[in-house]
Symmetry: D2
Subunit: 304 residues, 4 copies
């Protein structure tokens, strides 16, 4: 009982056709459904109908959803969220294309989060009978699946409480301004699967989106992604490098609307019985880039 | 509530000093405790006291343990195992060095399995404050952590029932003799974390051990492991290759007593809402080695 | 003045259309010219018109050519080859499609070798102005270029003398039956560029072909090649593994006619002032496969 | 006859013991000889006595040497250099420790270059009989060998003429301010082996040193180097990234004196019959970093 994984992200883009080219040609996703002003996309190694809905108009996060195990999870989370003091509403099957009934809430950071347990089944591109290890044909980066999301919040500490108290997440890593009682929480990385993080929050404006991350196989896939990005003149924000925080191997880049994407490989397998790792703000550059330790100002300031 | 991970393996070895050299110099584990006839070892990225106990005398699996969340998990599994018809006994704190109270049961395959929720905390070699992505010094292969185990059983189907019904595991992949009603279960790969498998059973003699797998970072770490194995004249059973089943990148090799080890990288992240993948026996070579599709007879016959 | 590189290989194949599919879809070469019973192919990172001519009928090597610097090299080699006691003839421009005038000789092993200094210029797929690091689209393995060739000869020692005395090659590595005076030469690896080998001979029947090797970027490209081979059911002879001899990372596989191909990465940069490395026959398995040290009987016996 | 390779670099460092730690612990070189104020170092895969001499006092390049084939090369280059209008002097055996007789000249850029054909033979760490593919123990990055050097010159065009006309180098790639007659040469990359470059010059102050590059096996070795650099707080200038120019995979970093080092992998094999690749200045960021396309100001301005 509980959250299964980050299921979908609804992202606003200024131009739907430009966005389509980016997510199809560069990231290698497939459009599985279209409706007026919206594109629904999935990655090759995902079973569910979609993980990304591009919505024309503006930039940034429209809303996102976690898939949960079933109606009993909805009931549990309905209570825990209400007890935390957030408004939570039922949503009906069909309010989201291909998605069943669920809950909708506004996080303390103003982000809209949905919980659902049913979504149309499409299947991966390699199938369930004597499958190949990957599809014969891949486009661009060929990202297999959505991995995680980083948002900003004025009070990351409240989001940390929300996700650990209401949603049964654990904190894998945290950045604090300093050790000790005066230390302020600058960022928190949380998991409910065994990823190093399923969702994370850094200090910044409420309601804003930092990036969503796609999981690649390894460091050679990160280079391959870099080749694709370079050949297509995609704007790169940071990387390739190794994160100190999470140990992930990474490149950040921007979609044509300016929303940040990440390709991510490696990172350890997190377990619920492990202690939280702490980073102090003076080591922030190392937490972000173990090798380069320098980044564009915009890594911390550009949010959508 | 439930199983956290494969916690420890007690392995019999014919010569303790030879085994020490193998697991320390080749795999890069560290001896954390010694007592008469036994060595306790951990890997650098593990928090718990040990994951391997080498016991002098013979070969093969002596017993193994899954770490569970707490006493409430013990109670739950005590009932579910008894209900399945297996004998289950309480074990006391200290019966296993550094390990707390728990349960002990004999699987339908005759293997001895323990469940426990406490083990002495040692910590990883990189720590919890502004950690490096890996230790400065690594020995041999430098395996970060134990990953999974493959055992043999006369009736894999019963073991599959045991782990899914009593222990809340899911089946990621199966090999069947043929599709349809006459198909017999030849092997079953099961997970309780998000690994492609935490434990697996293939058809063979009861009580026997096929291999335990260590998780490496990626395909380049597999090559690095291969360099170490070759330079130290370690007997290699199979690989490097890509498993069709699990997509893991792999080398199998033998410790001086003849127990099989595996180094394993990649593999997908498994989720509980996914369908099981099926392999038919005619594709078995592809399931084991996507590239080479040929293996030494001994891959299926040598068990300890 | 001298040999520039292994320029082209004419290979006999039993079925031209099957061979086209193999070399185009699997290796990723491009057909640049066709004529009755022949296909001419090049790889994406080669400047010259072709490096492979597939000739319908039979299997094995029809002939091969080294590109040399100019007419003065032809004159020099004409003399050195004649002095060695081999017959050498002039060949005219146009005897080979797109290739200029040259020499043709029969090696002491019976293989037909040509030397030429002109071949039509086509250019790589990335061009000469602000090029991308690779083409945007690659097919199959996407082999960038031909690398080397291994042939068999009853007397490798004579071939070693031929290439070092007449053609200015150096010996990078050798396999001998034993050290000392009674040692017989079992194989010789020779270079004229800075490759670990441009051509090599192992003991076996005269006139026979062991394999031609394509150079890939690295070990991750070897895995990528293995994925392609596996997904297309290409028969793999050996690998992935690391050669002890040459340190190359390798997979051997067969075209539909049974001619052996290799994908090869790594290997050191050879220099003419370096001593020759010697392998003794008792270490032959390690010379071929540093990790696996076992190979199918056919690796030594199947020649075309 | 001609140049074999870049043989040695004499580099000035402000503190010899700090430099020793950097080149031994970080790059993994070995000190083979010490004398007052000087350390001589070699890498594990080099046969010659040393490739690096650290000289206490100041920063930047003291001088460098190319190994040539023999006395006949000295005679030839003595004439060609004099004909170019540069002063060239004989140097005696022993003027450089372990190095035989040679020539010394001052390049048009003011850099001191030596040519020699004898240097004490030490051998690689894997030897010449049934060698392992690498040493069992490597320190830090474990760089196998020196690869190339980049210097600055007020007139790169003159250096290009010098190396092509006097020394038989070829130009693999060039950067020009613009195409056409008004285009000024901003940088030139030249080879005499089959590397993408053995030496290169960019526009800047005369006599200055940009970096020397070490060749690593591949992109995974670049990451491994990055891990070492980060764990040891070495100042990184740029990377990891892929050069558009040369296709090399790279990280630039600084020794404690501020001299720039590079680790470099990949890059194509250059041949003398190939056309030169041209980059225009507007694509300079892409030439340096195909992925990131942005770099610290200091990449172009910091020279020693």
């Amino acid at each position: 009982m509980g959250v299964i994984r980050l299921g979908y992200v609804h992202l606003r883009v200024t131009d739907l056709e430009e966005a389509r080219r980016h997510y199809e040609d560069i990231l290698g996703l497939k459009v599985v459904h279209e409706e007026f002003g919206k594109l629904y996309l999935k990655a090759w190694d995902e079973w569910d109908h979609h993980h990304l809905v591009l919505e024309e108009g503006g930039t940034g996060l429209s809303k996102f959803g976690f898939k949960v195990t079933g109606p009993e999870s909805l009931e549990k989370f309905e209570k825990s969220i209400a007890a935390f003091g957030c408004t939570v509403n039922r949503m009906s099957k069909g309010e989201n294309y291909a998605v069943g009934e669920g809950l909708r809430t506004e996080l303390p950071s103003g982000h809209v989060m949905e919980l659902y347990y049913e979504i149309e089944y499409v299947g991966t591109e390699v199938g369930t009978l004597n499958p190949h290890p990957r599809p014969k044909e891949l486009r661009g980066i060929g990202a297999p699946a959505l991995d995680h999301m980083l948002l900003s919040a004025e009070r990351p500490d409240i989001l940390e409480r929300f996700f650990t108290e209401c949603m049964d997440f654990r904190v894998s890593e945290r950045v604090v301004s300093e050790l000790g009682e005066n230390g302020e929480l600058i960022g928190t990385w949380m998991f409910v699967t065994h990823k190093t993080h399923d969702i994370a929050f850094i200090q910044g404006k409420d309601k804003m989106f930092h990036h969503m991350g796609y999981k690649l196989m390894d460091w050679s896939a990160i280079r391959h992604a870099g080749e694709i990005l370079g050949m297509n003149d995609v704007s790169v924000g940071f990387g390739p490098d190794i994160h100190g925080l999470s140990r992930g191997q990474t490149i950040y880049f921007f979609d044509p609307a300016g929303n940040r994407n990440e390709v991510f490989a490696g990172g350890y397998e997190a377990f619920r019985d492990w202690p939280t790792i702490t980073w102090t703000a003076d080591q922030l550059l190392r937490a972000v880039g173990h090798i380069g330790r320098e980044m564009k100002e915009n890594h911390f300031t550009v949010l959508t």
